[in-house]
Amino acid sequence: MTRLSNAFPKDRAALVCFVTAGDPNAAATPAILDALVTGGADVIELGMPFTDPMADGPAIQAANLRSLGAGTTTADILTIARDFRARHPNVPLVLMGYANPMLRRGATWFANAARDAGVDGVICVDTPPEEDAALGPALRASGVDLIRLATPTTDGARLPTVLGGASGFLYYVSVAGITGKQQAAQTSIEEAVARLKAATDLPVAVGFGVRTPEQAEAIARVADGVVVGSAIVELIGKHGADAPGAITPYIQSLSAAVRAARKESK
C-alpha cells in the first residue's frame, strides 16, 4: 500500500483539495497547505502554475497568473513539496499541471525531482494516454503514480486506453468543460462512477465544479474521493496570504460532509 492508496479508505470518501503552488506567493503556500490538512483534507493536489492553463476556468487562471507574477519557479514548487513532506509525512501530495513545465528539463529529471521531493503522484492535464511516452515511463521508473483523467466523453471503447498505465487513483472530470464553472447533475455522476468502478480497482475521485458541502456529500455517497479546487482558490484570491483563516473552516465543512455521507444512508 502506498501513501496515496491508503488515503482512500473503504468506509468513506476521501477529500482531495487543490491549490496552485505559489499563490499568492511561494512563501504563503506552506501555511495554506497546512490549513487544508488541519481542515481535514485527505489528499493535496498542488497545482504547478503555467502561463497557458487552457483547461482551467477564470479562478484557477487567475491563481496561475498571481503565482507567476510573484515569481514562482519550478524549484520553488519542489521546495514547497519537500517541506510539506517533512511536516506531513503521511498526507499524500500530487502535482497537477501542464506538460511543458513538467517536461522542460526532461521527463526523467522531473520524475526524479518529484520523487525526491516526496511527491506521490502526478496529473498532467494535456498529456492523454496517446502521448504516454512523453512522461509515463519516467514516472513509473521513479515510482511516482501517473493519475489519469476520465471525462464524460470517455466512452466504454476508450476507457481501457485511459486505464492502461494509470495508477494512484482515477480522476473523473464530471463535466465536459473547464474547471470551476458548473457542476454535473448528480445522476450523471452516479452513472459515470458506477461505469468507471466496474472497469477498474483504482479509487475514483470526482471533481470539477464541486463547491458546497451538500454537493460534496452527494458525491461522497458514490465515489471514493471528492475533489475541490476552484472554490478554495477563490478564497485565496480574496484573502491572499491571510487565506488560511478562511480555508480551515471551509475545508472542515466539506470534510464533515464527506465523512457523514455514507453514515446517513446506512
Binding site: 483547461a55 494535456d126 483523467l149
Partner: protein, 403 residues
C-alpha cells in the same frame, strides 16, 4: 541522422513529425480529435469532398492564383529571377481562406452546427467568418483584447460577416490567449462545435489537414513553373508564423532535391533583443496548444511573449512539421527583423505595384540576402501570402507618417 525515403510521408500514424507534433490535449477533447481524424481520412478518400473543395476554390476563392515574374524587383536585386505566387489575390486577401474552405466542409460533413476560431491580426478570423457566412453556420471568433484594439477594421469586417467576436482578457490578451480561450470553449461544447484552427499547428490531425488544404499553393506553383519555364525553381521562400502558407508552398516540392527552401521567421527587434517571434532560432522544443514543437519559453517552461511588427507572425510557437524540417535540415529558417521587413515592404510596393502583407514582406526581405548568391538564370519563388492593405496603419506608424 538518416535521411528518410520521402520528406512527404509525415506525420506517422500517431501524428508525429519525427519527435514533434502529437496530440497533447485534455482527455475531454481526445475522442473528438480521434473522430476528426477518422472523418478526415474518409473525406480525403472521397472524390466528392475533393470536388466540392476544388469547385469552391475555383469559383469562390478565385484560384488558381497567378504565378508572376517580377521584372523590376529582379532588376533591383540584381541576382536570380524573382517569381511571386500571388496568394494575396485570393478572396479575403490571403492564403487563409484555402484552409477555411477545407475545414468548414469537414465540419459540415461531421454534422457540427457551430464554428469557433482564434485570430491574431484578424485575417484568419475574417476568413473563418467568411466561410461561415457562405454556409450559414453561426461563428464565434476569439481575439485577444489587445488585438481587438489594434485591429478594429478586421473586427468590424468579422461582425459584418455575421460573426460574434469575443475579446479575450486572460493572460497576455493576444493570439496565444485567444487560442487558449477557443480551446476552453471547445472543451465545453464538444458535442456541436468545430474548431477551425488557422495555422498548421495544434493537435493531430490539424497540422496535417491544414497543410493538405494549403498544399494547393505549392501544387499550383509547381505546375505553373513547369508550364511557364519548363523547370522547377531553385529556391522557395515563405514567411513562417505558425507556418501554414510556408508548408503549403513547400510540401509539394519537398522531394525535389534541387529545390532549396527558406522559411522566414520574424526576428522583431532582433534575436539578441529577446523581442522576437523566432521560435526555431530563439526557442526550444516544448508542448503548447496540443503539439510538441519549438516554443519561446523560459527555463521553467513558461511561455514568453512573442514580438513582431507583423501581427500574423506574432506567436510564440511554430507548426510541428517546420520543427521537423528544421531539425533534419531540409528547410533553412532565417530570421528577419521588423526593419528589414519594412524595407522589403516598400521595395515591393515601388518596384512591382504590389502592397504585400507585412507577413509576406518578411519573406521578401530574405531576397536581398540570397538573390545575389544565385546566377541570373536561377529562379527564386516567393509566396506573397497576403495583401498589405490591412497593414498600412502599422507601416505608417513605423515610418513616422501620420495618416
Amino acid at each position: 541522422m538518416t535521411t528518410p525515403n520521402s520528406f512527404r510521408a509525415q506525420p506517422d500514424e500517431s501524428g508525429h513529425f519525427g519527435d514533434f507534433g502529437g496530440r497533447y490535449v485534455a482527455e475531454t477533447l481526445m475522442p473528438l480529435i480521434l473522430d476528426l481524424e477518422r472523418e478526415y481520412r474518409a473525406a480525403k478518400a472521397d472524390p466528392a469532398f475533393q470536388a466540392e473543395f476544388d469547385e469552391l476554390l475555383e469559383h469562390y476563392v478565385g484560384r488558381p492564383s497567378p504565378l508572376y515574374f517580377a521584372p523590376r524587383l529582379t532588376e533591383a536585386l540584381d541576382g536570380a529571377q524573382i517569381w511571386l505566387k500571388r496568394e494575396e489575390l485570393n478572396h479575403t486577401g490571403a492564403h487563409k481562406i484555402n484552409n477555411c474552405i477545407g475545414q468548414i466542409l469537414l465540419a459540415i460533413r461531421m454534422g457540427k452546427t457551430r464554428i469557433i476560431a482564434e485570430t491574431g491580426a484578424g485575417q484568419h478570423g475574417v476568413a473563418t467568418a467568411t466561410v461561415c457566412a457562405r454556409f450559414g453556420i453561426p461563428c464565434v471568433i476569439y481575439m485577444g483584447a489587445k488585438d481587438v484594439e489594434r485591429q478594429q477594421p478586421n473586427v468590424f469586417r468579422m461582425k459584418l460577416l455575421g460573426a460574434e467576436v469575443i475579446p479575450v482578457t486572460s493572460g497576455a490578451k493576444t493570439l496565444k490567449d485567444a487560442m487558449n480561450e477557443a480551446l476552453r470553449d471547445w472543451v465545453a461544447n464538444v458535442h456541436d462545435t468545430f474548431y477551425i484552427i488557422g495555422t498548421a499547428a495544434g493537435p493531430h490531425p490539424y497540422p496535417e489537414l491544414v497543410r493538405d488544404f494549403q498544399s494547393v499553393i505549392g501544387t499550383e506553383a509547381r505546375a505553373q513553373m513547369l508550364a511557364r519555364t519548363g523547370r522547377l525553381p531553385d529556391l522557395l521562400i515563405a514567411a513562417v508564423g505558425g507556418g501554414s502558407n510556408a508548408i503549403g508552398l513547400f510540401h509539394p516540392f519537398l522531394d525535389d532535391a534541387g529545390v532549396a527552401m527558406i522559411g522566414v521567421e520574424a526576428a522583431g527587434h532582433g534575436i539578441a533583443s529577446g523581442q522576437h517571434a523566432a521560435s526555431l532560432t530563439g526557442g526550444a522544443p516544448g508542448v503548447l496548444h496540443g503539439n510538441k514543437t519549438y516554443l519561446l519559453q523560459d527555463d521553467d517552461g513558461q511561455i514568453t511573449e512573442a514580438h513582431s511588427i507583423s501581427a500574423g507572425l506574432d506567436y510564440p510557437g511554430i507548426g510541428p512539421e517546420h520543427s521537423w524540417l528544421h531539425e533534419i535540415g531540409r528547410v533553412r529558417y532565417l530570421p528577419i527583423t521588423d526593419s528589414e521587413a519594412l524595407e522589403a515592404f516598400q521595395l515591393c510596393c515601388r518596384t512591382e505595384g504590389i502592397i504585400p502583407a507585412l507577413e509576406s514582406a518578411h519573406a521578401l526581405a530574405a531576397l536581398p540576402k540570397v538573390a545575389k548568391n544565385y546566377g541570373k538564370d536561377a529562379m527564386i519563388l516567393v509566396n506573397v501570402s497576403g495583401r498589405g492593405d490591412k497593414d498600412i496603419f502599422t507601416v505608417a506608424e513605423a515610418l513616422g507618417v501620420e495618416i
